[in-house]
Symmetry: C2
Subunit: 277 residues, 2 copies
Amino acid sequence: MRNLDEMTITQAVLANNSAIGDTRLCEIMTSLVQNLHAFARDTKLTETEWQRGIDFLAQTGAANTPQRQHFALLSHVLGLSTLVLAQNDRKPAGCTETAAFHAPSAQPVLHLDPGADLSAGAAPPKGYVRGAVLDTRGNAIPHATLEVQPGCTHATRHIERALLQADEQGRYHFCTSLPDNPRILPDGPAGQLLAALNRPDRRPAHLEFTVQARGYQRLTTQVFRQDDPCLDSDPLFGVRSSLITQWQRHPGGMTPAGTFSNEPFYTLAFDFVLANE
Amino acid sequence: MRNLDEMTITQAVLANNSAIGDTRLCEIMTSLVQNLHAFARDTKLTETEWQRGIDFLAQTGAANTPQRQHFALLSHVLGLSTLVLAQNDRKPAGCTETAAFHAPSAQPVLHLDPGADLSAGAAPPKGYVRGAVLDTRGNAIPHATLEVQPGCTHATRHIERALLQADEQGRYHFCTSLPDNPRILPDGPAGQLLAALNRPDRRPAHLEFTVQARGYQRLTTQVFRQDDPCLDSDPLFGVRSSLITQWQRHPGGMTPAGTFSNEPFYTLAFDFVLANE
């Protein structure tokens, strides 16, 4: 194992893998080494270029926090997350499609009562969301939990993540700001990469949900808005037709919460269908 | 660009690359996306597995400092650094081989006088190193700078990086602890990866040098010790036969520095041959 060159290095690294006890880890490391080496070889990557790559990873590491998971975001931006989700999402027909990685919260998630307002005083318009959590036969799943992430650009004036519980009949409802098109900001590595690649950095407006109930597969998904100009240019490649929803506009008046609004508001009805475990 | 699945996602990501202005960046990103996707597809990577990968990158980022560059170390451990160096190292015959990435120091490097002692009071034995910096025709290159990194496990009692200048005749000399076998500690991500892969974590004893002189290509290399038990199991894949050197043992007595030693000491003569720019 001396004098390794571009012809012999890959085999030398792989020869080490025979000592791995875990068969699956061995498979993963073998493919990782082969594909990373193929990348360096195909591009005839130079030392300066690879040093920039290493520096980029270090910058991503420095920016990364439990609240802003930049390595996950890079994975989304490179299409890896969509690929991994798609090749594992083998649910029965009729189930709500998966459209995001489940990222556990770094902080305790706020438990809110049914009907809660997540907009925390952000500017109108508000959106009133309701629906049910169902099984594949259309029966209500009682008491499912729904973790909601509004994913808005005005997140500082907004509850970032809230936990709601559906009722005995599987019904849930809450109120939030009408989602807008959040930007992947160029103050972070993923945003800088998008800028360097001349790619769009605005996501379609969405609400992200993680829905869980005992006996059913956990579902993490995103719900989009019809007529959103960014539906076909999502920098995270997450849009699915079955998740594009119709928000209905109301000019003002009595809201679903029983309050009176001088401002226009929106309503959305969306049901989640969970697969059995 | 909706409903992307494992068959269509790669092409969808690559379609974005047509907007990249920089041809080389486009080449690199195209190959990176293709090879990362091939990795995920070949292994049929699951969401849980990829989340562990993302978490590992985040842990590496958290551990990374300018002094301990863990992403660079991961690149070495995966053989990527050796591959990149090898495929770009096209120097004339007779030149000293490259054997490491040049990592610029995060801190000002200590400038030392010729003959300086880098061991800073570490335990014996000491090693006395001398040699010359030459061109490919054997002529002295005057006043080259040599940045020396002893790479010892007892680094806390050792100067980590020192800058020396060769004299008019290209000659340099200094004193250091005799290098031992440094360990890639399991307190960091690269060490943890080596442990998980059941791979050796001790490097061959070495001194690392970066040699620079105006009009010549910068050389970053490592000098190893004959009879080192780790020469054929370097976890960083860096050993080259031409860089394995003969340290001569002396039972004690007058040292090359003109001092008297009761302890055994070692001497090494090694010349660097630089390629023209």
